[in-house]
């Protein structure tokens, strides 16, 4: 049950616990929200620093705080995108499983009488 490149994801094996993956997606969404809130705080700081100092130092300090905010937003955005991916993956697997179950049921009903 090993593959050279990745021992925990061996080739040919596909398995999922949708609820657990959805929970991971929720954690990623939470992480994204927290970092977004901090990005907002950085942006507020960016506005305050030129007021506190004025001049070049104030401008420079404020601009850097804006950069902090932008960096936070990039990370938060990526975390949000991954959160959506995880949630979608859980939903898709669930839906696909339901579809397979329905298909198998229909096939069984169709095949049943013919076999008699």
């Amino acid at each position: 049950m090993t593959s050279p490149g990745h021992p925990t994801h061996p080739a040919g094996r596909v398995a999922i616990e949708p609820a657990a993956v959805a929970a991971l997606g929720a954690e990623l969404a939470s992480l994204s929200a927290e970092l977004s809130a901090d990005a907002d705080l950085s942006r507020a700081a960016a506005a305050s620093l030129p007021l506190a100092l004025g001049g070049t130092a104030g401008w420079s300090a404020g601009a850097t705080a804006t950069a902090w905010a932008s960096l936070g937003e990039l990370l938060a955005g990526r975390a949000a995108a991954l959160a959506t991916t995880f949630a979608d993956a859980a939903d898709v697997y669930r839906a696909h499983d339901r579809s397979l179950a329905t298909g198998i049921g229909v096939a069984g009903q169709t095949a049943g009488p013919a076999a008699r």
Binding site: L24, L28, A65
Partner: protein, 500 residues
């Protein structure tokens, strides 16, 4: 974006501008930024936690899962780089606060005493005989203002490694990731050999994900035993050691036997659906610690410290079952509480009754226990998790180990201590440095009234809260399922039982 020009009007105008700086606002704002920066490290630690779960393949396995794991790992690596740069940026902001504060104070003094200030203090001294201290203050103010400006500049320039130039940040995450050398050889970090668990936790938190993996891969013996490293990482390191031991044909028989017992115990627990974390594997030292549950994220942790004649080879299975029983009792006391327990054989217990009469093993074990408790606390900090309720459940000679642990430098990192069948303690309950101290003793347990090592824990003068114990409870039966002591210990672990 344009940079505002310096204030016109020469030195006096510059001083006036500095004197108008709102330093309290600056302090508040940088404190706010400090909060943002300090939350980033635990943030990425939690993100790494998500990555580890996906990477394990336990909940999601296959090509899509692998791609997802890589994406989370990449985000964690970028977050580490941002965290590192922001921490250096914050250091510059803090210098800015210090320098701006000094500049402001001195500028006020300079303006008050010097009136119209010429370009330099030297020029003024040569001519006018104006207030010399004020002039020096003015010159110092300008100097500190220059340092403040340099610090403000540096707060931004240290972000250049992220592709941030003139405050412009890469437009997309992929552009930001492309700025960072995420792929390629990772130097193996030097694992610290000294330092407190808190120092170790700080060192670990500062490593990037790739460097953490490198440390686990290349120095598992050091990482696996290092107090302050998060439980997940110690588990990975010690499992590598275990795997290596199981495949070593030259390993002495007794060590191989212990390794086999550890592997078997882990397999049994995992087959039963338990999350197992191997926290210590010191085969030559005959020491093992096995966690049930997630020690990094649990709300409550119980550490079981056994007494004499207990070895990993002979008793790990039994101690682990006790750890599971205590964990289950805590869950029963507080449904929904995340509980983890540790079967802690982190000291070599006395191997005979004559050696058990001395404190030597307890002294060594006490130092190890105190360090392990501090390490667990610090490791949680490194993973960005909040405080945990920690209970030490010690049995027999293990209570003497707790006694010695409390004597180690610093306070014992435990919220509660439970003493079961103690052969006596040196001081009273207060000396154990834990806010809550409980005991259980029974008339059928002769050890509990032997006073081999000091006061009996059930005596009123000792000051502990008594837990229920059947009169017929034998020395090794406190944690048996049919005894009332077990559920009471579970309540202590969960924080559901208040001390008297």
């Amino acid at each position: 974006m344009t940079v505002p020009a310096p204030a016109p009007g020469g030195t006096t105008a510059a001083l006036a501008a500095i004197a108008h700086w709102d330093v309290p606002l600056l302090r508040r704002t940088v404190a706010l930024l400090a909060g943002v920066a300090e939350r980033l490290s635990p943030w990425r630690a939690r993100l790494q936690g998500v990555g580890r779960v996906v990477d394990s393949g336990e909940t999601w396995c296959g090509p899509a899962a692998r791609t997802a794991a890589e994406a989370v790992t990449e985000l964690a690596a970028v977050a580490w780089a941002v965290d590192d740069a922001v921490a250096r940026s914050l250091a510059a902001y803090r210098r800015l606060v210090d320098e701006a504060g000094l500049a402001h104070e001195l500028a006020v003094v300079g303006l008050r005493g010097a009136g119209d200030v010429p370009a330099t203090a030297g020029a003024l001294l040569a001519g006018s005989g104006v207030d010399a201290p004020a002039l020096f203050a003015a010159e110092e103010a300008l100097d500190h203002a220059r340092r403040a400006a340099a610090a403000a500049e540096e707060a931004g320039s240290v972000l250049s490694g992220l592709g941030v130039h003139d405050a412009f940040v890469p437009a997309r995450f992929d552009d930001l990731a492309a700025e960072l050398p995420l792929v390629g050889p990772v130097p193996v970090p030097r694992v610290p050999s000294g330092g407190s668990p808190a120092d170790v936790a700080g060192w670990w938190a500062d490593l990037g994900p790739a460097a953490q993996r490198a440390a686990i891969a290349w120095a598992p013996d050091a990482v696996g035993a290092l107090e302050g490293v998060p439980a997940w990482a110690r588990d990975q390191a010690n499992r590598r050691l275990l795997d290596r031991a199981l495949r070593d044909p030259d390993l002495p028989d007794d060590l191989a036997a212990t390794a086999a017992v550890v592997a078997r115990t882990i397999a049994v627990e995992e087959a039963a659906g338990e999350e197992v974390q191997l926290q210590l594997l010191d085969l030559p030292g005959d020491r093992v610690a096995l966690g049930l549950g997630n020690l990094d994220t649990a709300d409550a942790v119980g550490v079981l410290v056994p007494g004499i004649l207990t070895t990993p080879a002979d008793d790990l299975g039994k101690l682990t079952r006790h750890a599971r029983a205590v964990r289950d009792a805590a869950r029963a006391a507080a449904p929904g509480l995340a509980v983890a327990t540790v079967a802690w054989l982190g000291y070599r217990t006395p191997s005979s009754l004559p050696t058990a009469a001395f404190r030597l093993q307890a002294e060594r074990g006490g130092v190890a226990l105190a360090s392990a408790l501090a390490g667990m606390d610090a490791g949680r900090t490194a993973t960005g998790n909040g405080p945990v309720r920690t209970t030490v459940v010690a049995h027999s000679y293990g209570t003497v180990v707790v006694d010695e642990a409390a004597d180690a430098p610093g306070d014992l990192d435990a919220d509660a201590v439970v003493l079961l069948g103690s052969p006596g303690m040196q001081g009273d309950a207060g000396a154990l440095e834990a806010p809550e101290v409980y005991d259980a003793a029974s008339p059928a347990d002769p050890v509990s009234w032997m006073r081999w090592f000091g006061s009996t824990t059930w005596a009123d003068g000792f000051g502990s809260t008594h837990l229920p114990a059947d009169p017929g409870t034998g020395h090794s039966e406190y944690l048996d399922a049919d005894r009332p002591t077990l559920s009471a210990v579970g309540e202590v672990l969960a924080g559901a039982r208040q001390p008297a």
